[in-house]
Symmetry: C2
Subunit: 442 residues, 2 copies
């Protein structure tokens, strides 16, 4: 009996140390690759064709190839892409930092245009892509996809990637375009959440006026409550830090409190089924406007740089991850029996994204220009082209949504679903690579 227990414990020890071991190996690899990305990104800083995110994407792809070869084609990634991990840990610091560092004056001056683009524009894009997908894909033989799937495709490819936008447009060089495109991306998230929830709850066969009204009411509720939650968290942190004079004893407490309350606002929004991105974005704005001025001088320097650093690490990690995951052999095997079809579908989707975006950028810019008196405030045709082009990127948000819809915990067995996943990855890789040419237009 005694020996049995020992054997049991040893076996347990070996087992647990093995599972521990593989996670230790993958963490080591990821951290080492992150360091490599940072150093390479620094060395390539002056090169206008590549930047940190493209470097990370390419390093991720190369690592995927190496792993694929060493495991003899079994797997290309160390971690399975998990949308939980993405939404819970990677996205909040990126969006919070964007709100924290945004130029508030520029942002609020264009608030109406941003909301118009983010809400109405996303809806137009969603309908264009969904209708196009129904019209084209239903005539092709790509497995079992129904109306719900086509609408989901519309929602997935209407979700712009605010993270990529941050990498392409620069706040200091083109403040108007930056605030328009990035602001649109943030509002777009709220619209996407409403769309996704609506698609899961509504009966798709009976669409009438009440459904549409319900949908609109839902959107307004979500938009307002998410914003209010973010503003409230920001103000609460400012009040606590000022009233209790937290910095009197230790600056670390101030920084920790700001970090934790920002994260809490995001998680609370997720808990209440609101748009966490919208909440944490507004929390960042309020914190930089009020809380930041109540903390000690060293906390100001620390928060400004620490938030930027965390966001920077999360972004690099994200691109590394997407690059490594792109070669996932399982989905490609399912989709690769007719390689031409996969390429065809990706091209059609890219075309639909282009058309869907053009269908709202130009008309809505025209509408927005009607309300402006000064010609300086109007959006020129050249700027409209840049907005159209810069927002084309589909990034990790699209991938996360596609995985959520078409796979079960990272794996898929259905032909049609596998094709949709590989097409999403192709569109994301292609649009990210191509969109980085946008600075050449500017």
């Amino acid at each position: 009996m005694g020996l049995g227990v020992v054997a049991e414990l040893v076996r347990l020890g070996v087992l647990s140390s093995t599972s521990d071991h593989s996670s230790v190996v993958s963490i080591n690899l990821f951290v080492a690759l992150l360091c490599a990305c940072i150093v390479l990104g620094h060395l390539l800083e002056e090169n206008r064709w590549v930047n940190e995110s493209i470097t990370a994407l390419i390093i991720g792809l190369c690592t995927g190839v190496v792993i694929l070869l060493t495991t003899k084609g079994k797997s290309s990634h160390i971690l399975v892409f998990s949308e939980d991990f993405f939404f819970i840990y990677l996205l909040p610091p990126i969006i919070f930092n964007a709100g924290f560092q945004v130029k508030k004056k520029q942002f609020f001056r264009n608030f109406m245009t941003i909301t118009l683009f983010g809400a109405v524009g996303t809806m137009i894009s969603f309908f264009t892509i969904s209708l196009g997908a129904i019209a084209i894909f239903s005539r092709m033989n790509i497995g079992t996809l129904d109306v719900g799937d086509f609408l989901a495709i519309g929602a997935i490819f209407s979700a712009t990637d605010s993270v990529c936008t941050l990498q392409v447009l620069h706040q200091d060089e083109t403040p108007l375009l930056y605030s328009l495109v990035f602001g649109e991306g943030v509002v777009n998230d709220a619209t996407s959440v409403v769309l996704f929830n609506a698609l899961q709850n509504f009966d798709l066969n009976h669409i009438d006026v009440t459904v549409v009204l319900n949908f609109l009411g839902n959107f307004c509720y979500l938009f307002l409550s998410s914003t209010l939650l973010g503003v409230f968290s920001g103000l609460l942190s400012a009040y606590i830090i000022k009233k209790l004079y937290i910095g009197r004893h230790s600056t670390d407490r101030e920084v920790a409190l700001m970090m934790l309350m920002a994260y809490l606002s995001y998680m609370l929004a997720e808990l209440l089924d609101l748009s966490g991105i919208l909440t944490v974005f507004f929390c960042g704005i309020v914190m930089s406007h009020y809380t930041w001025h109540n903390v000690t001088e060293s906390s100001r320097v620390t928060t400004k740089h620490a938030f930027a650093t965390l966001s920077f690490i999360a972004e690099t990690f994200l691109f590394l991850y997407v690059g490594m995951d792109a070669l996932d052999i399982e989905k490609w095997e399912f989709a690769s029996d007719i390689p031409g079809k996969s390429i065809g579908i990706s091209s059609i989707l890219l075309g639909l994204v282009l058309v869907g975006r053009a269908a709202f950028v130009f008309p809505l810019s025209f509408l927005s220009n009607l309300t402006k008196k000064s010609p300086l405030e109007k959006i020129t045709l050249r700027q409209q082209v840049v907005i159209w082009w810069a927002g084309l990127m589909r990034g990790a948000v699209s991938i996360a949504l596609a995985y959520n819809k078409f796979t079960r915990s990272g794996h898929t067995q259905l032909h049609g679903n596998a094709i949709m996943i590989t097409s999403t990855i192709t569109v994301v890789l292609f649009s990210t690579m191509v969109s980085h040419l946008v600075p050449i237009f500017l």
Copy 2:
């Protein structure tokens, strides 16, 4: 078929959103409790009887009671204590920051004494506790425990808690004692790792000279290679940042690189089965001595405060976690059939810890004093008592080791093992609470 797929997807969506939901709830609760700990810790700052860690421990206990009542006695914690989580995420920032902020002059002046305490002292303590446990427990009826288990108990209760020490002694008030007790805790970790590995690999029935020599050689190898790895990582980061002048383009890259390379050194040490604590501690020392002087001014402020903040959050989280886990109903049910026995065992273990520590602090202090010429450098009897008392705390490291040895992924079914877990928790709670009275001696 089409409907089946939809039903499947909806089911999947519901399932994944449920698992997602529970983790979102627990993250919300933990972050909110962390904020509460920070605010309460600030309000109680002037009170010398409680501090942040005790506050976190008590809040954790109270939350455990509330959860126990709301789940009707099913569970007291939201997350199962996982030693992976502890060793991979919580410990590295705490130990790195300790190395980063340590007073290097004081530390290296007492280096020999620290090594003596950490290496020889831990061995003396280990043998005392193991022999005591064999002598006393084998006469009591507490389930199936063999020699390996008793030796493991010796190792578990010889692991001092360097995190707690940081909370009790203050570097500015008592620099000599701080560097002695904390330094001992760091070296102690290397000894514990060797002990644990040795216990798992050696045949316990044949202990002769070669085994002992093997053991000593192992310790020297581990100590030297861990230290060298830490020093090398620190120097490499300094070289890269200086040579490539990373700060030229962005200060965020400098901070990110320092953070990532420190973490990489810890994970590499874990990968190579070295002592990660020792490695990251020396990495912190080298980084604060070389790398820190090569970065831009704002990076200096940022790293100093950001590392302290991360360490602070990790510490608070840890105590919250231990407090919440202490009420785990499963282990108490197994152990509670004879409540008197559990209390008896805890008292015996506490007594053994006291004796085991006294058995090396006073003799080794005497030896150390023989080598010092100036009477100012000698350790007075009063200081010896403080060292003896301050190092009594057994903390999260002991709990992690006990869980590793006596449970299988957080659950246990054996009577003897359950008693050992509950006794460890009792000893940790009691010693942490009592040891915070140590400032009264000073």
